[in-house]
């Protein structure tokens, strides 16, 4: 096969893909098929397109995405498990001109961090929350999360989630959307190119909402954990 030089491509072809400038060269540790990689890229693209690299402060959480600070090239603060909205609250109040956002999973946000999530949203903190919900604890090996659907088998519900034993799945966004402090809320998927585009648009609107001071912006991404599917 004849080799085509980059110059030739530039001259003759059209660019269909370029490397996202705000993604670092670090090798991502995610499992094959993990949606985190996609969502990371969307966040990085939106930050880049909005010109926010120098103005963004990201708050990482505990879970599979704990190493997000290795992948997106902005300043990061690593929060303890569940407390990212509290950390973000102070960061935003002390740096009102900055875009302050958290990146959290469902175990972090909807279990151990429920109080911080609800109260940050209720105060209407001008932060954005990127909430990746894969309905399982991925990093620790596939245990039941508050979001795990009834009947789903996990390492701590080997017979399937039973409401009598484990209660019902928690749809935390249904709670949050009733709070007066929430300025923007969207639930998206990243399973098809079209869904990925709408997810990116939601992330962009969330960032715009918090920069405009219209209250807390929440984007829930419905995700899959292929590794821990039983």
């Amino acid at each position: 096969m004849k080799r085509t030089s980059t110059d030739t491509i530039r001259r003759e072809g059209r660019v269909v893909h370029r490397r996202t400038p705000l993604l670092t060269d670090a090798h991502m540790h995610y499992c094959p098929g993990c949606n985190h990689a996609t969502v990371h890229r969307l966040v990085a693209e939106v930050l880049d397109e909005m010109g926010l690299q120098a103005d963004a402060i990201g708050i990482g959480s505990v879970g599979c995405s704990v190493f997000i600070y290795n992948y997106i090239d902005i300043d990061w603060i690593q929060a303890s498990h569940g407390r990212a909205p509290a950390v973000a609250t102070a960061v935003k109040r002390l740096n009102p001109s900055r875009l302050v956002f958290t990146y959290q999973g469902d175990g972090d946000l909807a279990a151990i961090g429920t109080a911080e999530t609800i109260h940050a949203c209720n105060r209407g903190e001008n932060i954005a929350i990127i909430y990746v919900n894969n309905s399982i604890y991925g990093m620790t090996g596939g245990q039941m999360a508050p979001t795990t659907p009834l009947g789903m088998r996990t390492s701590t519900t080997p017979q399937g989630r039973d409401a009598r034993l484990h209660g019902y799945p928690l749809d935390i966004c249904r709670l949050l959307r009733r709070l007066s402090g929430v300025g923007f809320m969207a639930r998206r998927r990243v399973d098809t190119p079209r869904h990925i585009r709408t997810a990116k648009q939601a992330i962009r609107e969330a960032f715009e909402c918090s920069l405009a001071g219209r209250g807390t912006a929440v984007v829930e991404i419905m995700a899959e954990c292929l590794t821990n599917k039983f």
């Binding site: 120098a54 963004a56 603060i77 407390r83 509290a86 960061v91 911080e116």
Partner: protein, 365 residues
């Protein structure tokens, strides 16, 4: 908010007013007796309208300490205050502050425990403050105020030390100091640092990444053992420097002392009078007050141990600091403990009796 000369203030009020004057950027707290006046005073003063200081009532103590963590990670001078039960809830956050090498001020106005305990004064959180409290190998700089003036003065001292070494610092007070009123001269006003000054002075802070530097990441996580060991050793080396340079204690009539009292915080304040009373009875008592509980004034105590026949450690607990005094004394003289628990505060006369009885016992032998 005029320049004041001397005022009569509660310890909690003095602490709050001193924080505003110091140029503190943020306070994040949750109500608990006996320190709620800190948050109340700050809210009444409304410093966000004058200095720009942020004051927030958080939804819980874990939220409050994590707000402090966020503020500290941006290079801001931020603080929280609580009492025993709340400080226990904050231990996770304090460990993260230590692990991410973040400077911050935590104030514990101690009450009796364990559990919900009592709201009366106590010094039962010495171990928690000095020996760790949270998980992992870390230290806090711990300052023990002995009166309301110290509550005002230690805010700047604690912040300055915390930022000099990038470690969290704690003011370990108790309900007596928080609640009592004394004459106090508030510290002079200092200006808050600007965003540009913070970016320049604290190049590690997460304030938004300009093109001119690589990204700042504030984290305590490191999964590579070799790297984690290097990081941990570097932290220990910093603690050694703090021990060498920042140990503080205060001696009262120790030059000719034949017997030594060791007490910290409000106890040290009360027992100055015991020393006076004992000397009236012909016993040359001296008092050593550790001002920094960590780093502990081991050397100062070891020096005095050479000249006295016995040491009495007086604490409002079941015997905590006495362990560090015994280490310092190295078995050369008897080191006894006298304590009251549950919020009972003893009077100078009670300690005088304890001291005289120990004196008689030691000198009969």
């Amino acid at each position: 908010m005029t320049e004041q000369t001397a005022d009569l203030l509660k310890g909690n009020e003095a602490l709050a007013l001193a924080a505003i004057r110091y140029g503190c950027d943020g306070y994040f707290g949750y109500p608990i007796t006996p320190q709620s006046e800190v948050l109340e005073t700050l809210m009444a003063e409304a410093p966000w309208e004058t200095t720009g200081m942020v004051v927030m009532q958080a939804e819980s103590e874990p939220a409050a300490i994590n707000m402090v963590y966020g503020g500290a990670a941006c290079g801001r001078r931020v603080m929280t205050s609580s009492s025993g039960p709340g400080i226990s809830l904050k231990q996770e956050g304090i460990s993260y502050l230590a692990g991410a090498e973040l400077p911050a001020l935590i104030v514990n106005v101690m009450r009796g425990g364990p559990g919900l305990g009592t709201i009366q004064p106590s010094q039962a959180d010495y171990f928690q403050a000095v020996k760790g409290g949270g998980h992992g190998d870390y230290r806090l700089i711990v300052l023990a105020p002995a009166g309301v003036q110290d509550m005002a003065d230690f805010v700047s001292l604690a912040f300055d030390l915390a930022f000099a070494y990038r470690v969290p610092a704690m003011i370990l007070a108790d309900g007596a100091i928080g609640q009592m009123m004394e004459k106090v001269t508030l510290p002079p006003w200092r200006r808050r640092l600007t965003d540009a000054e913070i970016a320049e002075r604290y190049p590690w802070a997460a304030v938004g990444k300009p093109a001119s530097r690589s990204r700042n990441v504030l984290t305590s996580l490191e999964l590579d053992q070799a790297v984690m060991e290097r990081k941990s050793l570097a932290l220990q080396e910093r603690y050694a420097r703090i021990e060498a340079a920042e140990t503080r204690s205060e001696a009262y009539l120790t030059d000719d002392a034949e017997m030594l009292l060791v007490a910290f915080g409000s106890a040290a304040r009360i027992y100055r009078k015991t020393v006076d009373l004992a000397r009236q009875r012909g016993v040359r008592l001296g008092l050593l007050r550790p001002v920094t509980l960590w780093p502990f004034p081991t050397q100062a105590i070891a020096r005095l141990v050479g000249q006295v026949t016995s040491v009495l450690v007086v604490e409002l607990n079941a015997g905590q600091m006495v362990e560090d005094v015994r280490l310092a004394a190295g078995g050369r003289v008897p080191v006894e403990h006298y304590g009251r628990l549950g919020g009972v505060v003893f009077s100078p006369d009670e300690i005088l009796e304890a001291a005289l009885s120990q004196w008689n016992k030691t000198n009969r032998k």
